[in-house]
């Protein structure tokens, strides 16, 4: 689509690891590298957020710069030369990851602990031979008293990259959580350390989705999610009209978790709201109607077979049509059901019973 009013952009080439790459003004080194399939590790980077350059994992060599520079924040310039793998960078990563590990909960194998929400730091640490550093004394406060039903924060796994607080500020824009305190006591906190239900938090769970280390996890997902065998199905949210894409995580014929596809892929750009991400308990709720029901002469509903119920439905409608004509019937379809089902409902109304009295709640 050619829009006459599209903003003018300048393209030029840069060099990454000796390879010539096309770049667009305003992009960062990480943007270009990712497009070219060149791997630069990141932790604090999220395409939806302004670059923070906080975690220092993405440091690269830029020709003419004395120090290593953060690839996630460094803007490309024409003819710039970048190196992403070198002895110097390797040494930097070894020290950096070792420092993170000295301030992180480790498992028996000596690697950062993995929760149901994954831990990217763990994967990075597997690539180095860690230095023997003393564990850091960093008494970060959590919020063990927080009774909100969805979001849990484990400060032992937090690397203070501030993706969650920046997401809460820049994307969701409610500023419910913030970096708080100084030095070793720095933590992710709410105002007055209140539970999230008593803050501006809208329980969207975007903080969980953006957390790279699993310090934020879903309370309602199974704790062993990381080892649980799940099948993931891409679908469309059934609440409002935005059409957010969802990944339904299924174990044992039950939905156990809902996540968004990666940012940049779909209409919701990695985001979900409280309903889309968390309100799925209804699917497997014990109140679901599980059998056809027919009202008997006594006025009570009784379970029936499908054959009986279908016959009762067809006969009931045909009898009213025979007595009072087709236009004495009304068909109320559903804006919650699929397009195919709405097509079939109006076909049922028009072709089978002969009336155009077919509508749904959507006269907007």
């Amino acid at each position: 689509m050619n829009y006459p009013n599209q903003k003018r952009v300048e393209t030029f080439s840069i060099e990454i690891n000796g390879q010539s790459c096309r770049a667009i003004s305003g992009e960062t080194v990480v943007d270009v590298a990712r497009r070219e399939g060149i791997e630069i590790p990141t932790l604090c980077h999220d395409t939806r957020l302004e670059p923070a350059g906080a975690c220092r994992v993405c440091l690269v060599e830029v020709e003419g710069q004395r120090r290593l520079q953060p690839g996630c924040a460094w803007k490309v310039q024409p003819d710039m030369k970048v190196t992403t793998e070198s002895t110097r960078i390797e040494k930097h990563r070894t020290i950096l990851y070792s420092m993170y590990m000295s301030d992180h909960q480790l498992d028996e194998s000596g690697l950062p602990v993995e929760t149901g929400n994954g831990n990217q730091l763990r994967e990075l640490c597997k690539t180095i031979d860690p230095l023997p550093l003393e564990p850091v004394n960093a008494p970060r406060a959590g919020r063990p008293e927080d009774v909100n039903p969805y979001i849990e924060f484990n400060p032992e796994l937090c690397i203070l990259c501030a993706r969650c607080t920046r997401y809460c500020d820049e994307v969701e824009a409610v500023n419910a959580i913030t970096l708080s305190n100084r030095g070793g006591e720095t933590t992710i906190a709410t105002a007055g350390n209140r539970g999230l239900l008593d803050t501006t938090c809208e329980l969207c769970g975007g903080c969980i989705a953006t957390c790279p280390t699993g310090a934020l996890i879903e309370k309602k997902a199974p704790t062993n999610l990381v080892t649980l065998e799940t099948e993931v199905t891409r679908s469309t949210c059934n609440f409002c009209g935005v059409g957010c894409q969802l990944d339904l995580h299924v174990h044992n014929d039950r939905v156990v978790k809902v996540t968004s596809p990666e940012p940049g892929e779909t209409v919701n750009d990695g985001n979900l709201c409280v309903k889309g991400r968390f309100a799925y308990d209804f699917i497997h709720h014990e109140d679901r109607i599980t059998t056809p029901l027919i009202r008997g002469a006594d006025g009570e509903l009784r379970p029936a077979s499908w054959e009986e119920a279908l016959e009762a439905t067809a006969n009931g409608l045909m009898a009213v049509k025979a007595r009072h004509g087709a236009d004495s019937l009304g068909f109320i379809s559903s804006s919650r059901c699929t397009g195919e089902e709405n097509y079939l409902m109006q076909k049922l109304s028009r072709a089978v019973f002969g009336t155009n009295n077919i509508h749904q709640c959507a006269a907007t």
Binding site: Q245, P292, G316, H324, T338, Y343, I358, A362
Partner: protein, 541 residues
């Protein structure tokens, strides 16, 4: 309006807006993810004008909040048109090339001066001027609206007024601009597209057009009715007086969601036969003669069409519980039981193929194509090689020349008086969804909003000697409910607001079922009510 009933532009374009005019849409609560795009645009420097009787969340971050009285939108929008024309800010070239009826409309809005509008709407005349100037002089300026515009007896007039603004400023066929109704439900757009409407076959093909009818008669192998059917609002009224004798309700709780539900209940009681196809028992299933257990979205295949005309796949990930079945299979079975030879569709994809083959707007879409497309396909998509259409009307209005509409203000059907001195508007919240059979079964929404409430300005609360959190009785000419009072700085004095989600305290016992003349949409946003302290009125009801 300009040839297609849908958002003219795409959701992803919002982030590149220069100005957003949001009217009658509490976007952060009703469409949270679209609101995120609006917030993003705002942080990138876009201007934001919010017109809403409540100081909604978006109003806090807006450059301008036009806090109009409920139901006075025609005045506000006509006055904006008045300013644009009086100050010569309209796009003469666009109007000349693409529209009809400018002069008649201009003559009409000449009477709607900002000063007079201030008297009716309560919005300062200068704010109206600023809004009009900003909107008219910004190129990438989009209008976003939803039920605050349409749920009035003059909802169609409100929409006409918005369309007038779009046309006179040429904000059509331009990226990050246009006229964008945000659809309430996951598949409102798709339900309308698929012909679940009394006047159109699938794809907005008129049931009274004999050529179209012939096409569907041939496809379906039966003669079809040449008469327009009844819209939902009229169906409910005909049911109440005993003319509509049987209803088949699929996936909708009309006893919660329709206005003036007392009448709906009367109607259901009079019905000779009621079928409900549902996933949960709800208020409507109490009246059912037969209940057919359907499947929720996670249990079936198909498509939903979102607000920006994007057809996306729904995929089965778990099995329906017990004997519950996919709804599309149930509908086919009912048709067969009634003696109609419904084809033996292998899967939902085959149903879609039949639907698409009769519907030019989506003829190029199929389940197979959607498998390959991560972000769906936006109609119009007339053939298999067509990439879909993110922005409509790029080459001028689809209907050719778009008509301006000269609109007269009509007050809402029921205005406050001595007996019922407050204006009630109803709506939705972030945490619950419609009749809330789904969201009230999840801990978060319940923790946030357990019971029904009204929002009320502190001056009204003081007059009635009400404290935040106490229970009150809210009464209209049609019914009464109990709710908590939330004293809220969001409200205008004289106006209260109530969500529609709570089955034990149904807002729609109060609302007025007077409907829009064209669409039949009920007047959910304005009715007259009285609020009473519980202790004073224990004997009532």
């Amino acid at each position: 309006m300009f040839g297609a009933g849908a958002m003219t532009n795409s959701i992803e374009e919002i982030r590149d807006s220069e100005l957003m005019f949001v009217i009658g849409s509490n976007t952060t609560e009703a469409h949270p993810i679209i609101a995120m795009e609006m917030k993003r645009a705002r942080q990138r420097g876009a201007k934001l004008i919010v017109a809403d009787p409540r100081k909604i969340w978006l109003a806090d971050m807006a450059d301008l909040h036009l806090q109009l009285k409920p139901g006075t939108d025609v005045w506000l929008l006509s006055a904006m048109a008045n300013v644009i024309i009086a100050e010569g800010l309209h796009d003469r070239e666009f109007i000349e090339a693409n529209t009809d009826g400018f002069d008649a409309m201009a003559e009409k809005v000449a009477d709607y001066t900002p000063e007079k509008a201030e008297e009716v709407t309560g919005v300062p005349a200068d704010d109206i001027r600023i809004a009009a100037r900003l909107y008219a002089t910004t190129k990438h300026a989009g209008i976003y609206y939803t039920l605050g515009i349409t749920e009035h007896t003059h909802g169609t007039d409100n929409v006409y007024c918005l369309a007038n603004l779009v046309l006179m400023t040429g904000h059509l066929g331009v990226r990050s601009a246009g006229m964008n109704p945000l659809r309430g439900q996951n598949n409102v757009q798709g339900a309308n597209d698929a012909g679940a409407t009394p006047i159109f076959y699938p794809g907005y093909q008129s049931v009274t057009d004999s050529k179209v009818r012939e096409k569907f008669e041939n496809a379906w192998g039966v003669p079809l009715s040449p008469d327009n059917g009844l819209n939902l609002n009229v169906m409910m009224k005909e049911m109440a007086v005993g003319n509509l004798k049987a209803v088949y309700v699929m996936g909708e709780d009309i006893v919660i969601s329709e206005p003036n539900v007392t009448k709906v209940e009367e109607g259901l009681n009079r019905c000779e036969f009621v079928v409900c196809q549902e996933i949960f028992h709800n208020e409507t299933t109490r009246f059912a003669d037969v209940i057919l257990p359907g499947a929720c979205f996670a249990e079936k295949d198909g498509v939903f069409t979102n607000s920006d005309r994007r057809v996306q796949r729904v995929r089965k990930s778990v099995n329906p519980p017990g004997e519950a079945r996919e709804d599309w299979k149930i509908l086919c079975d009912v048709a067969r039981s009634a003696g109609y030879p419904m084809p033996e569709y292998e899967d939902a994809g085959e149903v879609f193929s039949e639907y698409a083959s009769l519907t030019p707007k989506i003829a190029g879409i199929s389940h197979e194509r959607l498998e390959e497309s991560i972000s769906g396909l936006q109609w119009p998509c007339p053939d298999e090689t067509h990439p879909g259409t993110p922005t409509l009307h790029i080459d001028g209005p689809m209907i050719g020349r778009a008509p301006f509409q000269a609109v007269d203000y009509r007050p809402s059907a029921e205005l406050p008086d001595n007996d019922y001195p407050l204006v009630l508007s109803t709506g939705r919240t972030l945490y619950h969804y419609n009749s809330a059979t789904q969201t009230r079964r999840d801990a978060g929404p319940v923790a946030k909003q357990r019971n029904n409430f009204i929002e009320m300005h502190r001056s009204d609360a003081r007059k009635l000697e009400l404290k935040h959190g106490e229970n009150v009785r809210v009464m209209s000419r049609r019914g009464e409910v109990e709710a908590e009072v939330w004293v809220s700085p969001r409200m205008r004095p004289g106006c209260i607001w109530m969500p529609m989600h709570f089955s034990e305290s149904r807002a729609n016992l109060l609302t007025n079922d007077a409907g829009d003349q064209v669409t039949g949409t009920g007047e959910y946003k304005v009715c007259a009510v009285r609020v009473e302290k519980m202790s004073n009125s224990k004997t009532v009801g």
